[in-house]
């Protein structure tokens, strides 16, 4: 599970390069992190809100993209966490 924002395109490129089987994006998320507050009322300015991206994939794929994603997130902000999940 990842949190990001306007660098969505970059993150998706990273995901695609890692050949993830798929991903889901939920835009219009807001929130507060250690550095920034993102609120819905600013969306009209073009600042953009956050995007919540979910990827279900194998552990190896995660390892492959870890560095790239960390890189993106450390620059623009955002968090990424991993949970165990089994297909239904």
């Amino acid at each position: 599970m990842i949190f990001s924002e306007r660098e969505l395109d970059a993150i998706i490129k990273t995901l695609e390069k890692a050949n993830v089987p798929g991903y889901t994006v939920m835009k219009h998320a807001t929130g507060r992190g250690p550095e920034r507050v993102v609120t819905e009322d600013m969306e009209f300015t073009g600042l953009g809100a956050n995007a919540h991206v979910i990827v279900f994939c194998e552990q190896e794929l995660i390892d492959k993209m870890r560095d790239n994603i960390r890189d993106d997130l450390s620059y623009y902000g955002g968090v990424a966490y991993i949970s165990e999940a089994t297909p239904l």
Binding site: R6, H28, E35, R36, V37, T39, E40, D41, M42, E43, F44, T45, G46, L47, G48, A49, D71, Y75, Y76, G77
Partner: protein, 332 residues
Amino acid sequence: MEINPILQNVLAPPVLFFLIGAISVIFKSDLEIPAPLPKLFSLYLLLAIGFKGGIEIQKSGFTNQVLPTLSAAILMSLVIPLIGFLILRFKFDVFNSAAIAAAYGSISAVTFISAESFLESQKIAFDGFMVGALALMESPAIIVGLLLVKFAAPKNRPKSRKMHLSAILHESLLNGSVYLLLSSLIVGFLTASSNPSGIVKMEPFTGQLFYGAECFFLLDMGIVAAQRLPRLKNAGSFLIGFAIFMPLFNAFIGVFVARFLSLGPGNALLFVVLCASASYLAVPAAMRMTVPEAKSSFYISTTLGLTFPFNIVIGIPIYMSLVNNIIPLSSL
């Protein structure tokens, strides 16, 4: 500076709706204009301003006042960020100083609209080509801001993010709101040249509806501005002072430039308002992407929480009285 014009300005529907929005926040009403409705109005206003401006420019043609005015406008949007940067560097790092300074060099389209509405209510004439000045002042300030970061920033910025000139031009010229304003201006110009019936058919949308849509948008801006204002406290009194002083200072320079250009009172007010207003659309969006080191709450809360309401509510009539008092002086 009379009190009367200020009151008259405040009693116009756009400003009243702005105040309604702000008061709703103060009184903790749950009035809310959910996203993306404000975006609809902001896109609409940019499209309509551009379109109408393009028509006006085509109609009036390039009189010999146009080129000097537009050049002066660009010049102002290059110079103001430099001055702002020098002032802000007393307190802030390069990143924040550049981002805030760029915002004040750029313009606020809604403040411009409000000034137009003010002029109309005062029955003072102004020219359509001033929209050209509006359109041309958005990008240069962004460019200056980014160049300031590029050359004044500490050398240890992450390598991969080195700003190339192409990236700087991209952010400044192809930013959504800059692009929409500029291209609508071109559409208006082309339509006026080749398809006058198109103008008539657009008029109800871009013309008649405009004032009401402006009011609706200002209702939202009132809400947003009032939500921003308290965050300024964290920013400290230096920045609060800056958010009031800078527009006044820019307005002052603007008046003398307008006088030098021999602009009529209407055009002069618009010119001054462009100088005095600060961007909360194009510049923040560009800075968020290119200078993530700068705190967005600084450049947004100042421009949107303080400078914008100040200009809308009392700035415009103040600038009008500046224009009326300084421009007619026989000589400097």
